[in-house]
């Protein structure tokens, strides 16, 4: 038997947080072992093989009858993924619900998924990258809800900039409207404060959708003529253009080339005069005065493909040209001579010294082929260990190991954005089903005093027609056929109605609740004996009150704008259905799985410190959305990536002590 090599760092998971750690550390000269649970084919470093595997994903997506986020990707018994198709309402006769990978103890089903496989959930993410708002970090002090973060927005700012470079964000800082700004002067002051006076994103705005113009035009009319009333007060609704992790036109003013470890200053720094060369596998200095323009990162199989979005309108679940960022782009920039990747290798637990708390290994199972029940068990050894396996898997591994849990917070405070969907027909054609999933969002209700009473939300203008709630356009065809409509009449009917479809979704920020949690139970295991996550989940009144408030605003808006409302909520419309003050609401999961190993100021009530290091084990870091103490109203990937750069810096500091 060969003695296992000891690496500087062992990483579990090749999603965006694992990839950022691997890239940053290997480029700084550290050796890394990366364990990935998914299939070897998805990690193909050879361009030709990489392309063929991706075409397989694409064809699987084409062939899928229900095109849910995980539909293009393999779901293997040895490392199952959550699938939103597997969700069902939980009743007295099916508790817990065990039809999918999750064991759903209820009372409500947790309705969000993630992807276990090379590249992780960034393969199917939408790619929206708004930052959290400064007030989102201080929910307890400002609004008496949840907890404060151990760091401020200002602390995270430099890391946000790193994340925006790594992901390749397209956007315009001036087009992000601050909820508290009522004048143009305030707007500019807040932009300067929160982004810096001269800050620009690597790429210019992704052009906004035609439907955004129609909707914002209608809302402008409503704002001017009959503004919606919130608690009896006239309220004007504002919109922001959403920053996005998909390639657009490079911003000529963007100065940075790379994020590189400065060993002298012991810091990760954005660099203007050096960058990593994947050809030379080394940091190179840029000759002074050399002309620079940000170069969008194209497809993993061909850098010339995907340098700008081509409007495939399938961001979720798959960008055919990889103009949308995915974590393999980052991983492939690692120093390959220092990166060892083991695929089909599922981490089951961490092993530690009871006395010192030091982690001494990660036990993992390597299965032979997809769905094989045959596997080998081995121990990976490193100086430092990083779990980057997703919020749910990280919590599961820690619980299975009885590790990092002196606070009893591991697995707790599971959060998501609870999406209240509303849909109607516009008075004119907005032509949805084209372009990125969403390019503009209603941003007025992302912050405010109302957060003492109910959740805040962001509300993207969706580009998917009614696909999400009612499976349009197939359902529209079926409805017409049920009425025996055919021929030209059928074509005309669909041609008139489909382009008028409008979908909005109010993404309500779930507050942390200790009882919303991931647990494990020896009775529920997967095919190779690893635990399946057992989920306890509910929506509090703080959430339901937000549904009511959002729906009231939506109803006023629809009526005043002449949008014909087709929204209906019922126990069969979606798996999650709740009642509040005599009214029923459905909500849908956002796929923003957050909060299962939160960071905090004290080891008494949190799992990791502000550097993402576990309080209980000096050489164990957790990265990913599980760290987030609260969720804010932004899609969490950008914030999670910023935190991961912060963690990478702390790991390098620790290694170079």
């Amino acid at each position: 038997m060969i003695q296992n090599k000891t690496y500087d760092v062992v990483i579990v998971g090749s999603g965006i947080s694992g990839a950022v750690i691997a890239k940053t550390l290997t480029q700084a000269g550290k050796t890394v072992l990366l364990l990935e649970a998914g299939l070897t084919a998805g990690m193909n470093l050879d361009r030709n093989g990489n392309y063929h595997n991706y075409v397989d994903y694409l064809n699987t997506f084409y062939k899928a009858q229900i095109k849910v986020p995980n539909s293009p990707y393999p779901n293997i018994k040895d490392a199952p993924s959550i699938n939103v198709i597997d969700m069902e309402p939980i009743t007295a006769t099916n508790s817990p619900s065990t039809v999918g990978y999750l064991v759903q103890a209820g009372p409500l089903p947790f309705a969000s998924d993630c992807l276990r496989g090379p590249g992780g959930t960034t393969l199917h993410w939408l790619g929206s990258t708004p930052r959290m708002l400064p007030n989102d970090f201080r929910m307890k002090s400002l609004y008496g809800v949840g907890v404060d973060w151990p760091i401020s927005y200002e602390d995270l700012m430099p890391y946000y900039e790193m994340a925006e470079l790594e992901i390749g964000v397209s956007g315009d800082v001036n087009a992000i409207k601050w909820p508290e700004a009522t004048t143009e002067k305030q707007q500019i002051a807040l932009k300067n404060k929160n982004y810096g006076k001269d800050y620009v994103f690597p790429m210019e705005n992704i052009p906004t959708s035609y439907i955004d113009g129609v909707v914002t035009g209608l809302v402008k009319g409503v704002n001017n003529n009959k503004p919606v009333k919130v608690n009896g007060k006239d309220t004007r609704i504002g919109f922001s253009i959403t920053p996005q992790g998909r390639n657009s036109t490079p911003n000529k003013k963007y100065p940075y080339r790379d994020v590189i470890w400065d060993a002298k200053k012991k810091k990760l720094l954005l660099q203007t005069d050096k960058c990593w060369s994947t050809v030379l596998n080394a940091v190179i200095d840029i000759p002074k005065g050399e002309k620079y323009e940000y170069l969008p990162v194209g497809a993993t199989w061909d850098p010339n493909t995907g340098q700008r979005c081509e409007g495939n309108a399938s961001c979720v679940p798959i960008c055919p040209v990889q103009a949308k960022y995915n974590a393999l782009k980052t991983l492939f920039k690692s120093d390959r001579s220092k990166t060892t990747i083991k695929t089909q290798s599922v981490a089951s637990r961490v092993i530690y010294d009871e006395k010192s708390g030091e982690i001494t290994g990660v036990e993992y199972k390597t299965y032979r082929t997809a769905d094989s029940l045959v596997y080998d068990t081995d121990i990976a050894k490193g100086k430092i260990y990083v779990l980057a396996a997703s919020a749910i898997e990280n919590a599961k591994i820690l619980l299975a190991s009885n590790a990092a849990n002196s606070s009893d917070q591991v697995g707790r405070n599971l959060m998501d954005h609870l999406c209240l969907l509303t849909w109607g027909l516009l008075p004119e054609k907005g032509y949805p089903y084209r372009g990125p999933g969403s390019t503009t969002n209603m941003s007025s209700f992302r912050d405010g005093d109302f957060r003492k009473e109910h959740a805040a939300w962001i509300c993207p203008i969706d580009n998917w027609g009614w696909a999400w709630p009612v499976f349009s356009p197939g359902s529209d065809l079926a409805t017409a056929l049920a009425k025996n409509i055919f021929g030209k009449e059928l074509r005309d009917l669909l041609a008139d109605s489909l382009p008028k479809q409008l979908l909005l979704h109010y993404e309500c920020e779930q507050a942390p609740e200790p009882s919303n949690r991931v647990t494990i139970d020896p009775n529920y295991r997967d095919a190779i004996g690893n635990y399946r996550p057992v989920i306890h989940y509910d929506a509090s009144d703080y959430m339901k009150k937000a549904f009511k408030a959002a729906k009231e605003i939506n109803d006023q808006l629809f009526e005043a704008a002449g949008i014909q409302d087709f929204t209906t909520y019922s126990p069969t419309m979606a798996q999650d259905y709740v009642g509040y003050e005599g009214q029923g609401y459905n909500f849908w999961g956002a796929g923003h799985i957050v909060g299962t190993h939160r960071m905090g100021k004290s080891k008494k009530d949190s799992v990791v410190n502000k550097d993402c290091k576990t309080w209980d084990h000096d050489n164990l870091y957790l990265v990913g959305c599980g760290n987030m103490p609260t969720l804010g109203t932004s899609n969490p990937t950008l914030t999670m990536t910023a935190l991961t750069f912060k963690a990478a810096e702390a790991i390098l500091k620790q290694l170079e002590k």
């Binding site: 062939k63 309108a313 055919p320 669909l494 489909l498």
Partner: protein, 140 residues
């Protein structure tokens, strides 16, 4: 051979009436042969033959009578209770690229006619290019 050729012809002509698309539009998908084969293989051959015979009869009889054609299709082909629901399944096949609830092939999804009707394109294919989504679609 001869009968299959004749079968695809009737299938194409009746598909024009059922879907509202022209012959050229349907042929342009490249899916005619595949769809004809799917229809015959997924169904009782006797039912398919009876459907095509009835279709041919209606088409010939109403060659110069638009309203008559429409009425006879509505009454003698379209109801879900007739020919195991073949007419509606054929419409779904052209619009969605699926036979009932099953996408026939990656290509059939890409060739679904419904996306063009919506002035869009099948998500993940036939991408219209950078910034196209910020303009109203081009009318042909």
């Amino acid at each position: 051979m001869e009968s299959s050729k004749k079968g695809t012809n009737v299938f194409l002509e009746i598909s024009v009436c059922l879907t509202g698309f022209s012959k050229m539009e349907l042929l342009g998908t490249g899916m005619l042969e595949t769809y004809y084969n799917v229809m015959t293989n997924k169904n009782n051959l006797g039912v398919v033959e009876a459907f095509l015979t009835e279709s041919a009869k209606i088409l010939t009889k109403n060659k110069d009578n638009k309203d008559g054609l429409k009425n006879e299709i509505l009454n003698n082909l379209i109801p879900d209770s007739l020919y195991d629901g073949l007419a509606q399944n054929i419409i779904t096949m052209w619009y969605m690229g699926s036979w009932i609830n099953e996408i026939i092939s990656p290509q059939s999804y890409v060739q679904g006619m419904i996306w063009g009707v919506a002035d869009a394109h099948p998500p993940g294919a036939k991408q219209p290019g950078f910034a196209s989504w910020s303009m109203a679609p081009k009318k042909v």
